[in-house]
């Protein structure tokens, strides 16, 4: 079942067209990888989906409902959550308070008390592995902590669709595999659909069910990881070396 | 009717030019370091008092006291920058400079009250009036306007023909890139702030010509609103925007009382500033970068 339809989205900034007639379907319970060179429009697309930007034309349809003009906070309450590429924690709030914000304002908005939200937040924080830092101000966290906090906070609103924007950037290899474990667990336990923007090829190839490729605002390919890896257009634009791509997939 | 229009336009331009000059500093400081200088109005007031004391003590007319105002403005600008502004430029809270300059402004106003009392003072400099077919204009206004133009030209030269000016424009555009090109950003910021404050002081001195009796410690309040309307309408980051904004406001202040005079329940000269406030809000909502500001 299609959870989210991106239909013919065009987004311009002054003279630059960041997204040129992009259409993508995201199916329920899948992990869709979104790759492409820097500046290809991946984050812009996420911003349009979450409502931070309004498109110049096109539609975003979530569970059969047109949400193109819906404000961001309502999209969050409907079940769309995201992390930011450059982490944006609520600096002077503790880790716990950060997660409580999205719990109080997400799916359970108006239906949950502060004490219950606190307990739920503690659970999420434990799952993500940040319980040691529960009461530290989030501005004091290191890179890995921040990335995990982004994820924890996004989970707080109990999303059905999770948009991860380069959640592995800046992490060491062991941190990366920990994060990937967490992501796989989230997908399986909570039945969350994930769109993952990522540059790390081996990560995205291994974890994704399908992959879409953006280049200069245009979707140039979409399909299974193996197909993408053997796609001539993608290779020209991105990999430069088809054999290398195959090796990643085999692994 | 025709005479009225000419009178309005002439007065509007002449007074508007000085308003613009007085506000250029505000736009410049914002452009260079993204600081809203809430002390601006008090710098204007200090400039006005400089002209007053120059008149009373040395017999200088407001135009002749410009160099004195400029010097004082420079000193106070540099002092303010190094003691207060520089420390707060890099604080994580963007409101630090706002609060600090606001507090400084109030402190300066009270200081002036203590030093010079709240009495209204004036510089009764009059040289007669020119009567033309269509309008009459005090000669002092003409001299003020001319000095205003001269100063604007000087500022133009500074900004476009000197190294300092180029570094200011570079920092306005992109301070990081400027630093990489070897611009000493800290000094540029300091001098930029000082230039802004010099312009405010000079503006204050010249405004005295239009206010024969109105100098007092709290005159800043009136100019607070005026200057922000001018700065925002013209475009905060651009000093020339202040001139455009000044002209617009100058004309508005001439036209509006006449139009408002037809409404019996309104006191036209006091209602006009409120109108300018409405314009401020509309511009902030619809076109916050102003007329000459950078489009986002």
């Amino acid at each position: 079942m299609t959870l989210l339809k991106v239909e013919n989205i065009v987004k311009r900034f002054g003279g630059v067209t960041a997204l040129k007639d992009v259409s993508i379907d995201i199916y329920e319970n899948e992990i869709l990888g979104l790759i492409g060179p820097n500046g290809s429009g991946k984050t812009t697309l996420v911003n349009v989906i979450t409502g931070v930007y309004l498109p110049d034309s096109g539609r975003i349809v979530y569970r059969e409902k047109d949400i193109t003009r819906l404000p961001p906070h309502l999209r969050c309450r409907m079940g769309i959550a995201r992390t930011y590429q450059v982490t944006r924690p609520f600096n002077n709030l503790t880790v716990l308070e950060n997660v409580m914000v999205s719990i109080l304002n997400g799916k359970r908005y108006g239906k949950i008390s502060v004490e219950e939200a606190k307990k739920l937040a503690e659970n999420i924080i434990e799952t993500i592995g940040l319980d040691k830092f529960k009461d530290t101000p989030s501005k004091s966290l290191n890179a890995q902590g921040r990335k995990r906090l982004e994820l924890a906070r996004a989970l707080g609103s109990e999303p059905e669709l999770l948009l991860l924007d380069e959640c592995l950037a800046g992490l060491t290899p062991s941190e990366i595999s920990e994060m990937l474990d967490i992501i796989r667990r989230i997908k399986n336990e909570k039945k969350i659909t994930i769109l993952m923007i990522e540059h790390l090829m081996h990560a995205v190839m291994n974890v994704s069910d399908r992959i879409a490729v953006l280049h200069e605002g245009v979707k140039i390919a979409e399909g299974k990881p193996e197909d993408i890896a053997s796609n001539i257009k993608v290779a020209e634009v991105y990999f430069g070396d088809r054999d290398l791509a195959f090796k990643f997939v085999k692994r | 009717m025709f005479e009225l229009i000419v009178q309005i336009v002439v007065y509007g331009v002449i007074i508007g030019a000085v308003y613009g000059l007085a506000t250029m500093g505000l736009n410049l400081i914002w452009g260079v370091m993204r600081v809203v200088n809430f002390t601006h109005a008090e710098f204007l007031t200090l400039g006005a008092y400089t002209a007053y004391w120059a008149w009373v003590l040395i017999g200088l007319n407001p135009i002749a006291s410009i160099p004195l105002s400029a010097l004082l403005g420079f000193v106070i600008g540099i002092l303010t920058f190094y003691t207060i502004i520089y420390r707060l430029l890099f604080s994580p809270d963007i409101h630090s400079t706002l609060v600090a300059t606001f507090a400084l402004g109030i402190a300066l106003a009270e200081l002036m009250k203590v030093l010079w009392t709240a009495d209204y003072r004036g510089v009764p400099w009059a040289l007669g009036v020119i009567k033309h077919y269509w309008f009459s204009l005090p000669i002092t206004y003409i001299f003020t306007f001319i000095s205003c133009i001269i100063i604007i030209v000087i500022v133009y030269f500074i900004l476009y023909r000197t190294y300092f000016g180029k570094s200011i424009r570079a920092v306005i555009w992109d301070s990081g890139a400027a630093a990489i090109c070897g611009v000493n950003v800290k000094t540029t910021l300091a001098l930029g702030f000082a230039l802004g404050s010099v312009l405010a002081f000079i503006g204050g001195s010249l405004i005295v010509v239009y206010l024969p009796t109105g100098i007092n410690p709290y005159m800043g309040h009136i100019y607070l609103l005026r200057c922000f309307v001018i700065a925002v309408v013209g475009g905060l980051g651009n000093p020339w925007g202040a001139l455009i904004g000044g002209l617009i406001l100058g004309l508005l202040e001439q036209i509006s009382p006449i139009v408002l005079g037809y409404f019996p329940g309104i006191e036209p000269f006091s209602f006009t500033p409120f109108l300018s406030f409405l314009i401020l809000i509309i511009v902030l909502l619809v076109m916050p970068e102003g007329i000459l500001g950078r489009r986002r």
């Binding site: 961001p72 906070h73 959550a81 944006r88 304002n105 997400g106 | 409101h95 607070l224 409120f274």
Partner: protein, 314 residues
């Protein structure tokens, strides 16, 4: 039993300060004046704390709410309405005006919000004078209507009640969903939105709440000075004092403005006595000092230095 202990800890600071204030007010007329002004400052800064401390929006025009309350008070009293009822209505009208101003002005961010709110102070004055509203520049005199009812003790204790009410509101806010949402949007507006926070609604509610108590306090001020004029009841220095005290005490905490107001007023009084005229320059330096050294205010400093005091300082 531990719970009762916790609760007591939370409120001990407040209770101590209020008892101290009440006691001082009974010492002499001079002390009464000081306590009056301290309580006034508490009310306006605690209420500003809601929008500025929690919401991160520096409302430089906070003084306008006081003025609106004062004018409503005067207009109603002149019509024969009971002064205390007039004060309350003044507060309500102030909140309504806050709503109307807020839906327009709260869309602005950072410095633009500051500029706009700062300009509302002269703008409202000009509106009153220019629109010849409520007596225009001449204002409204209240001697005839209130002369006999004037009692400085009553006015001071009204401010005491207001201060307690504002503090209770702030305490409730700090443990409410709205409080968390406000703090989130203060830290990062967009991230708050994508986390589900309806930033517009939260800001507007906070703004309305922040106007209620200054509105009522405006009535108290009008009662005290007997002559409501644009210059006397719409005073820019109230804005800066409120902002200063919030910063001095500690943004976003409930006890911050309380302690801040006390320290500020005492400092100001001492300076006036020993360095007359200089107090405002020193005051300007104080602002800079606070902002650069202790951006979290005195409460922030105390909380990080003395961890055991944390429970007492919320």
């Amino acid at each position: 039993m531990g719970d009762v202990g916790d609760i007591m800890k939370k409120y001990v600071g407040f209770i101590l300060i209020y008892i101290l204030l009440i006691a001082s007010s009974l010492i002499s007329k001079a002390y009464l004046e000081i306590v009056y002004y301290i309580l006034f400052l508490m009310v306006i800064s605690q209420s500003l704390n809601i929008i500025m401390g929690f919401g991160g929006l520096y409302n430089f025009g906070h003084a306008v709410f006081i003025g609106i309350g004062a004018y409503m008070f005067a207009l109603l009293v002149v019509q024969g309405l009971n002064p205390y009822l007039s004060m309350i209505i003044g507060g309500i009208v102030s909140s309504i005006v806050a709503f109307l101003i807020g839906i327009v002005v709260l869309r602005l961010r950072g410095p633009f919000f500051a500029i706009c709110t700062l300009c509302t102070v002269p703008a409202v004055r000009y509106l009153i004078i220019g629109g010849k509203i409520a007596g225009g520049a001449a204002g409204i005199t209240l001697f005839r209507y209130l002369g006999e009812a004037y009692n400085p003790y009553v006015l001071t204790y009204i401010l005491l009640l207001l201060s307690i009410a504002a503090t209770v509101l702030t305490l409730k806010l700090s443990i409410s969903p709205l409080g968390y949402s406000l703090k989130a949007l203060r830290e990062d507006h967009d991230a708050a939105e994508t986390s589900g926070v309806n930033t517009t609604r939260c800001k507007v509610i906070a703004f309305i709440l922040s106007a209620l108590f200054p509105g009522i306090a405006g009535g108290v001020v009008a009662f005290k000075i007997f002559w409501v004029m644009p210059e006397t009841v719409i005073d820019l220095s109230w804005s800066i004092e409120a902002i200063l005290i919030v910063l001095l005490g500690g943004s976003g905490t409930a006890i911050g403005p309380i302690i801040g107001a006390v320290i500020y007023e005492i400092l100001k009084d001492l300076l006036m006595r020993y360095f007359p005229g200089l107090q405002l320059l020193i005051f300007g330096l104080l602002v800079v000092a606070i902002i650069s050294i202790a951006p979290e205010g005195i409460i922030g400093l105390l909380r990080s230095r003395f961890k055991r005091l944390r429970d007492f300082l919320i």
